[in-house]
């Protein structure tokens, strides 16, 4: 359980922040400041500018620059059914992909936690989808893998009665999710695996001696132990997957129709095809506010994990 010890507070004696002098406090703060200022400037300033543009009428392709627009952009965002649809799609796609990836990740981690011949090689094969460039993965899936005329998947599934399915036209939504799951299952596996390997063996042995079934042991001992790992895997997966752009852009271009237009892709379209800086900014601000609401729940989950650790 070494992984989990002393996790939150730097508890070692004498290292805790004491009632310190002003000078001492600044000495402690000094090493933090460059990173903090850098992060504030690079990540927060663009959002302030976004806020400003969201009240402007500004199109790339029109001369004359920006003019004050009041809340017109926001009205447009809230009445645009495409925005709402993209929002819902982003949430559902992320949720499905993260949950499926985590479910598979737990199964694969349990598999990799067993001894078998060539386990190291199998783990190496398994982590590759996480390492491959997402743009490369998207292009390989949409071409050599899923093409209706020469794709490998159709050939593999032919014995099961599948004939030249045009996956990206007829099952676009599911296909994009499959690729997201394929890329993120290894990540989930690695996190859960680390959790499994940090589990105390003597407790499991004791449960075995007591005659507990494998399922009961998993449910009563392993799963509670894995909970913080699973929660954090879900959290990190959501952070990255909700921003997924490459796969949508390169596999389906948001289509057919708007069936795979996620929020990031919607914003990209507004900007690159409609040249609508003001409207995109307003949609961005709404997105950020929604994200903050969801993220504050997520951060509360973080806090719970921290408490969970401290209670140990």
């Amino acid at each position: 359980m070494a992984v989990l010890e002393d996790v939150t507070s730097p508890a070692a004696a004498g290292l805790r922040p004491r009632r310190a002098s002003q000078r001492e406090r600044w000495q402690r703060r000094l090493p933090l400041l460059p990173a903090l200022i850098y992060t504030i400037v690079v990540t927060q300033v663009p959002f302030l500018v976004t806020l400003w543009y969201s009240f402007q009428n500004y199109f790339w392709n029109q001369p004359g620059g920006a003019t004050w627009a009041g809340v017109a952009n926001y009205k447009e965002v809230f009445t645009d059914p495409n925005f709402r649809a993209a929002l819902v799609r982003s949430v559902t796609m992320t949720a499905i992909a993260v949950i499926v990836a985590m479910f598979l990740g737990v199964l694969l981690a349990l598999l990799l936690d067993r001894k078998f011949l060539g386990r190291g090689v199998v783990r190496t094969l398994l982590i590759t989808p996480f390492l491959i460039m997402p743009a490369a993965a998207a292009l390989i899936w949409s071409g050599p893998m899923l093409d209706p005329n020469f794709g490998l998947l159709n050939w593999l599934l032919e014995p099961f009665g599948v004939h030249h399915v045009a996956w990206l036209t007829t099952h676009a939504y599911g296909s994009v999710i499959v690729v997201m799951v394929w890329e993120w299952t290894p990540f989930m596996t690695l996190i859960v695996l680390a959790g499994l390997q940090g589990q105390a063996q003597d407790i499991l042995e004791a449960a075995k001696v007591d005659g507990a079934s494998a399922w009961a042991t998993f449910r009563e001992l392993t799963l509670p132990h894995l909970r913080p790992y699973i929660e954090l895997g879900i959290l990190l997966g959501s952070i990255y997957l909700v921003n997924v752009f490459d796969q949508v852009r390169l596999m389906t271009n948001g289509g057919p129709g708007t069936s795979t237009t996620t929020l990031p892709f919607y914003l990209y379209q507004q900007l690159d095809y409609a040249f609508n800086v003001g409207g995109t900014a307003a949609a961005g601000v709404v997105t950020v506010i929604l994200t903050i609401i969801i993220a504050s729940f997520a951060l509360r989950m973080f806090a719970r994990v921290f408490q969970f650790e401290e209670a140990k």
């Binding site: 996790v7 070692a12 922040p17 703060r29 690079v42 060539g118 199998v122 394929w182 690695l190 951060l299």
Partner: protein, 286 residues
């Protein structure tokens, strides 16, 4: 075989058979799953060695005379792209480590009072969707003459990776035993010696896996590069996209480009997978 021996050996042999068959069963299952996940990557590499005419056939061809012609084509065109990618990746990772190491120190070993809030702030910046600000980012880049410049990518990739890096580095620094720090202080070691002789040796493996994660995310990034660069700073993912022509056969060429673009990170990841596992788990839990 006598009657007295039988009751002893039979169960033992039974258990042995069960063990062996169990091992065989898990081995088969493990390999099937591993290969299933690896098939798209394998198919990419196989297709990259095909002549274009053999890449788009039904049924898919598994026997063909391998050729390097697509690779040659890829190598001839990717020079500037791979250079930009390498500069942006290495440059941003260096910035991340230079900023992240002291910050992690200030959040773990000699923590500031509000270390928890600060850590949450860093994490929360990862939750803001970068796409939401892409328009204004474009305008800012334009006004500061950073559009289509490698510096812009270095700055943005560093900001993108810094939160995760601070988080991971902090968790590795918490591994430094308090007694070791205490002992160094009693020995009269100054702050510099404390850092170089006590902290760095413990943190070094963590530093490697943190750098690795940053390299993976920076090398693979497409969205910012696509929107903010054209030619002077276009990276490998953009080279990859440009290898898809509007018409004609291109699958073998695309596969070769995808292979070349992905291989550096895949190899680095394979070599360092142990520290990667450790880094992810520690970053996740601590």
């Amino acid at each position: 075989m006598t009657a007295t021996e039988a009751p002893v050996t039979a169960p033992r042999r039974g258990r042995r058979i069960r063990e062996v068959s169990g091992l065989a069963g898990w081995t088969v299952l493990g390999w099937v799953v591993g290969i299933a996940f690896f098939i798209p990557v394998l198919w990419m590499v196989i297709t990259a060695f095909k002549p274009e005419s053999a890449a788009e056939t039904w049924p898919p061809k598994f026997t063909f005379s391998p050729t390097l012609s697509e690779f040659r084509l890829v190598f001839s065109g990717m020079g500037p792209y791979i250079e930009h990618s390498a500069i942006a990746t290495i440059g941003s990772t260096v910035v991340v480590l230079v900023l992240g190491l002291p910050a992690a120190y200030a959040l773990s070993i000699r923590p500031v009072r509000k270390w928890r809030d600060t850590l949450f702030f860093f994490i929360s910046t990862k939750m803001l969707p970068i796409v939401a600000a892409i328009g204004p980012l474009y305008v800012i880049a334009l006004k500061t003459h950073l559009l289509d410049s490698i510096w812009l990518l270095i700055i943005l990739y560093a900001a993108m990776n810094l939160p995760l890096a601070v988080w991971m580095l902090r968790s590795f620094m918490l591994e430094v035993p308090g007694e070791m720090l205490e002992a160094a202080r009693l020995d009269g070691a100054g702050r510099v010696r404390e850092i170089t002789e006590v902290i760095m040796p413990v943190v070094l493996p963590g530093l490697v896996s943190t750098a690795l994660i940053c390299v993976i995310f920076a090398w693979n990034e497409l969205f910012l590069a696509l929107n903010l660069t054209v030619t002077n700073a276009a990276t490998m993912p953009m080279f990859l996209i440009s290898s898809v022509p509007q018409e004609g056969l291109y699958i073998a060429h695309l596969s070769a480009a995808a292979t070349v673009a992905s291989v550096p990170v895949i190899i680095v990841g394979w070599i360092a997978q142990r520290s990667l596992v450790r880094g992810l788990a520690m970053g996740a839990i601590k």
